[in-house]
């Protein structure tokens, strides 16, 4: 039977780039597989050039507990010691977002080992970008069951503020690896190598789970706007 390790990704800022180039550093609207695998590899103290196939092979799913909003950070880099012109960089972040990421493996011991290293990681952990430190309650437990089932049964981690804006019953979207034969949105975020001389990413198909996770929300509004709900859950 497979087991699933849950990670809570929550903070004022996080950023999960998968198509970023040069001076425009974008973020996806939910965590990438490469970002989460990178976090696990950092915890285990793997160097950038170390093999990561075992981690990249783990099945991956994300639940969107609170979608957050897009934040644009405009940065100038100046050569202040020698003078000269200024270069401009745009970085995008998700602010105020909460995700529950799940990695699934048939090998429970492997996940228990990862849990140990997440508790006392070799390299500092961050949510997609170094300036976004991982939250204190990042590490949730290892559960029996497959990723989607575990994500369906876990409690909702949204902030009280966000709960008040949502209806009394709602469905949280779950984005998961496609099953064999299933067609999804292709995304190039499977890390093959983090080595900086030849960083490479493979493709995977991402499917939004048809069912999602249904949660009760006693703090919620009695009357919900179906259009708003459709937009925010997309």
């Amino acid at each position: 039977m497979s087991a699933t390790l849950l990670l809570l990704l929550k903070g004022p800022m996080q950023s999960w780039g998968h198509t970023s180039r040069y001076r425009d550093r974008t973020t996806a609207s939910y965590p990438t597989k490469s970002g989460v695998v990178g976090l696990l590899a950092a915890a285990e103290g793997r160097r950038r050039s170390a093999p990561i196939e075992d981690l990249a092979r783990l099945r991956f799913a994300v639940r969107v507990d609170q979608p957050g909003s897009l934040l644009h950070d405009y940065q100038t880099a100046q050569r202040w010691q020698t003078g000269g012109s200024t270069s401009l960089v745009s970085r995008y972040y998700l602010s105020d977002a909460v995700f529950l990421a799940a990695v699934e493996s048939p090998d429970r011991e492997l996940l228990d080992g990862i849990t140990q290293s997440l508790h006392s990681p070799r390299f500092p952990l961050f949510l997609g970008r170094r300036s976004c430190p991982a939250n204190a309650d990042l590490l949730q437990e290892v559960h029996d069951g497959d990723a989607v089932d575990v994500l369906r049964s876990e409690r909702w981690f949204a902030s009280e503020f966000h709960r008040r804006t949502r209806p009394q019953q709602l469905t949280l979207p779950i984005f998961r690896d496609a099953l064999p034969g299933e067609i999804g949105d292709p995304r190039q975020d499977v890390p093959l190598s983090f080595d900086q001389t030849h960083r490479r990413y493979g493709w995977r198909d991402v499917v939004q789970d048809a069912e999602g996770a249904t949660v009760e929300n006693p703090l919620g509004k009695r009357k919900a706007d179906p259009f708003f709900e459709e937009v925010i859950s997309a």
């Binding site: 004022p12 909003s69 950070d73 010691q81 602010s95 997440l118 990681p121 500092p124 300036s131 902030s159």
Partner: protein
């Protein structure tokens, strides 16, 4: 065993605009569903680097520039000045060019505008080199008569003797990733602990001459944006990585104490002359851990409101302390050591689990904690 040092600070700023976005407004982010003031990590890291330069001396701080070749050529000329045959600029430039091409770093001829002096070739990005690396490279070039070094030799010159800021904040070399240095210090964006939105300061400026002629009206009018806030600031130092980057355990401890000092006393200088926002954090909480580093930012997810005779600073200090305490008792993250420094009664909520101290005394306390156990 690996140690991490986490530093948390509450820092109140008067109306000011120390870090602006592309519209000139103070940077901001939404957190806990409300807009907050934000100061980017890059901005504060730069303030810390400048502070290093002041407190540790320029020798310990790297140059971040496209004109690295010029720096090396300058040094070559300086070194050969003593002999009777100082290298001319062309020879020094050619030697510097050899060094960087040998290292696999591409240089391109600098575009010079009319009336400007000719400059040496430049890298296509900002490259971080320490003064010691520049000096070692220049010496080697003089010794070998400007010969192109092998990749191995170049590596020994450019990847050794990192300055403190390179070892801490990392180095990125776009066309030769072999020379990259992974940062050992993480600095989070500073974020307001309470809801705030920038305010518009409408101003008028009087024309002295026109006023003397007793004509009324403003010489000019305009608006500036500003904000006043209490920020939560967080950074973490990974001692083992820092030691690897600096190549020495003692240097890592000294660099860490210097970082703590600069983190506390430095400030981005944006609009300094308009606002004189010269404050220091009113509360600093430091933890040394052998587990993972822990940010306490989520203590402020619900925005802080001053109420019932409790000021924003007091409320902030209490929330920070209660978050720290709960991580110890509920999650079992007990630090190896923790210290609190603060003004007035702000350290009171920390007394039961942290050593209350002062900034002048802190450096020695940190040294003894960090060297007590070999961070390797």
């Amino acid at each position: 065993m690996s140690l991490v040092l986490d530093i948390h600070a509450l820092h109140t700023l008067p109306p000011s605009n120390i870090n602006r976005d592309d519209t000139g407004a103070p940077k901001s982010a939404v957190f806990g569903g409300v807009p907050r003031h934000r100061v980017s990590s890059q901005s504060w890291k730069r303030a810390i680097r400048r502070d290093f330069e002041k407190t540790l001396g320029a020798d310990h701080v790297g140059f971040r520039t496209k004109r690295v070749a010029d720096l090396v050529a300058d040094r070559v000329q300086e070194l050969t000045k003593g002999d009777d045959a100082m290298w001319d600029r062309e020879r020094a430039d050619a030697a510097a060019m050899n060094l960087f091409t040998g290292a696999g770093i591409k240089l391109t001829e600098a575009k010079v505008r009319e009336g400007e002096e000719k400059r040496g070739a430049e890298t296509g990005y900002l490259l971080f080199l320490s003064p010691r690396q520049i000096d070692n490279a220049a010496r080697k070039l003089v010794e070998t008569d400007g010969a192109k070094p092998s990749k191995k030799e170049a590596r020994a010159l450019l990847d050794d003797a990192h300055s403190i800021d390179i070892a801490m904040f990392g180095r990125m070399v776009a066309d030769a990733p072999d020379y990259n240095v992974d940062a050992s210090v993480q600095v989070a964006h500073a974020i307001g602990i309470h809801e705030s939105e920038p305010e518009f300061d409408y101003y008028t400026a009087v024309d002295d001459i026109v006023e003397d002629k007793e004509e009324t009206g403003a010489g000019m009018i305009g608006t500036m944006q500003m904000t006043s806030s209490t920020l939560y600031r967080f950074a973490t130092v990974d001692l083992r990585s820092l030691q690897e980057n600096l190549g020495d355990a003692n240097a890592a401890v000294e660099a860490t104490t210097a970082f703590v000092n600069s983190f506390i006393t430095s400030l981005p200088s944006g609009k300094q002359n308009s606002y004189a926002h010269n404050t220091v954090p009113e509360l600093v909480y430091l933890t040394i851990r052998d587990t993972r580093s822990l940010s306490l930012v989520n203590a402020f997810e619900s925005p802080v409101r001053a109420a019932d005779g409790v000021s924003r600073r007091e409320a902030g200090a209490q929330l920070l302390a209660s978050e720290a305490k709960q991580l110890e008792s509920n999650y079992g993250f007990v630090p190896v050591a923790s210290f609190a420094i603060g003004l007035g009664a702000l350290t009171e909520p920390f007394t039961e689990f942290a050593t209350v101290t002062t900034l002048p005394a802190l450096a020695d306390q940190l040294r003894s904690e960090l060297t007590a156990e070999d961070p390797a």
